[in-house]
Symmetry: C2
Subunit: 433 residues, 2 copies
Amino acid sequence: MTGGTTDDGAGRVSRRRAMTLAGVGVAGVAGVAAGAGALVRGAVDHAAAPADTASGAVPFYGEHQAGITTAAQDRLHFVAFDVITTDRARLVDMLREWTAAAARMTAGKDAGIYGAVGGTPEAPPDDTGEALGLPASGLTLTVGFGATLFRDASGRDRFGIAARRPAALADLPHFAGDALRPEISGGDLCVQACANDPQVAVHAIRNLARIGMGVVSVRWSQLGFGRTSSTSRDQATPRNLFGFKDGTANLKAEETDLLREHLWAQPGDGADWMAGGSYLVTRKIRMLIETWDRTSLAEQETIVGRTKGSGAPLGGKAEFDEIDFAAPGPDGQPAIDRAAHVRLAHPDFNNGARLLRRGYNFVDGSDGLGRLDAGLFFMAYQRDPRRQFVPIQTRLARQDLMNEYLRHVSSGLFACPPGVRDATDYWGRGLFG
Amino acid sequence: MTGGTTDDGAGRVSRRRAMTLAGVGVAGVAGVAAGAGALVRGAVDHAAAPADTASGAVPFYGEHQAGITTAAQDRLHFVAFDVITTDRARLVDMLREWTAAAARMTAGKDAGIYGAVGGTPEAPPDDTGEALGLPASGLTLTVGFGATLFRDASGRDRFGIAARRPAALADLPHFAGDALRPEISGGDLCVQACANDPQVAVHAIRNLARIGMGVVSVRWSQLGFGRTSSTSRDQATPRNLFGFKDGTANLKAEETDLLREHLWAQPGDGADWMAGGSYLVTRKIRMLIETWDRTSLAEQETIVGRTKGSGAPLGGKAEFDEIDFAAPGPDGQPAIDRAAHVRLAHPDFNNGARLLRRGYNFVDGSDGLGRLDAGLFFMAYQRDPRRQFVPIQTRLARQDLMNEYLRHVSSGLFACPPGVRDATDYWGRGLFG
């Protein structure tokens, strides 16, 4: 460490402490920039301690990107960008800048070394300031590359990387019932910001967009609240907007062998730069909650295949019971309908395919027809969508009893590279380096 | 109390405890409904203890509606409804049902006595279930009546109340620069749900909409995060999406005399049924954050009239310093520009007019032009908008340096009646009773 230490010894420096040190306002700026710089340089090199509270910092550097197996935080701001330059060097420079800013922000610091109130009065601040005084809040930032980055809609290989497109990044097929809106689907790049404070997640995305000005343009973005999946055995299964527990059989961070098999791209999978990465499928699924709310409890439970209260499979007793799909109900027929959601999505009926789901509930105001525009922003990480999401969704789209209450309106597929190893590494180095 | 007590003695019964008691799933329902009913009847009559944590319950009954001077919670779901019936009795019945459901939900319970997993399997549940297991989370529900409830756009007095319209509920004038979208403005009724968990706020609005099916239709709704004002001296001033502290001079819950003068409608103000109520102005203000982020720190501080770091007025030292608008800056001119936001909005330049602001930041995805659709959902409560919001906004709209970065896209004005006294009272009894 150099200069006046504000590091707490565990690598954490809060924005509040940085601000106190940096003084305030135009008048106080002159003598401060150097000190603020030293503070930052001394602190970024540490990997932060694991978050032990909702306000702590999640380590940024590592074998895998954070934000995938990280215990799902409560809030999401997801953004998809179009790249608006054809200059490869500018794109790579931006990815380097993004990486440095992400390392800082996930540690609870400002996006740039001068911060929101440092630098010179004549320049725009290098942080937008709305997170001043807020802790790291478990922020993770996870980047992904869309198929159009490799070859755009008109077939151009803008950045000389078309040959490096992974086979697993194959365009998703059309699924039965899809009602996708192209303007909120796809994208050349994506960033998933998850945090336990929405202001921190929004701040992070906004500052990446600011840094990327002239290189990228926001294509679409989505806020989410109320995680709908658990990614750790320590987390209770939350409820979706149908009022049910869903995704009980989700891959969990503790299941190392399963993660190797189902989550992380492996050397030899076809694109070496993706080894240690994962493929993210996003689907914005509008839920017709007003129609659902007029449906009887029995019908709701039949559709889902679970009881609404405990989340136990029908015919079972507790949420995590092994599901017996043959167990008879009162009428002698299987208690779980053959077209129930829980059955069609279960690994037993999908060649063992599993996903790490990380979705969030959303409400985007109303739909102009007197209804709330609400639903699930589904996100699932996996080793190869061709063997996982695609076959699962193909069956669900054809048969799931729940389809009557769902509309898929947005879709995305992104190759999320492995983790950033240290401060010399950057998002996408394996692809561009 | 009757039957098996699940009340904790302070009037609080959590959904989790209610659920445990009520058993789970279709199979467990038969013997439970009576017990659940008793549980509820025993508990609703208490005023809950004041929330001492983010998860506690805020008392529902009282002289004033909760959610106005209540220490501002972190999350908002606001909804405006159109009334789609002309049957006064049906409207009043719904208001009674809403009041009962609001009393339950703000106490951390299901919307109806059978709850999400009680009742009979053949009926839709009387709670949608996504808040099962979540605590009260400081939920407040605050209702308001729009001018169109008294006389609709075509001049009809649908409910025989046109003569009772308060003079203070006069239509807002057009302000310079207004870019209002009618489809997300106005409304016959509004409900403001504030909570420290967005899922709890969303759940409450959704269940009121469900109860109101056939009587009301959602006109528009808005989610907000990150309160932008403090309504109690115990709360720090938060930051808006320009990165600044704003609303430092907000009315606070502790300022009883000022609240009487500026916040609560008084007997003799012109509509007796509104005594103890307040008038709510909502404005959805898009902030052009990408443009703002390219502006220098000095320019930003000039526009606001405060330093970005501490929030101190320019020329002052600390946020809560009395502002000296004559204090000179380095160049001998007043440190605070004559058209700075803080000056134009200050009571000294508005005949002493003050507001209780209660706004929230919002991000509604992107705008299709490569930018985040973000800003402030401004909410301000007051005794009479004609003497408070209207003159203040008239000056701001004409002169505020900040206007270059703002677009007002939605507007609403609602008469929020006084509080519900007890379980025999209901929202709007003074108007309809």
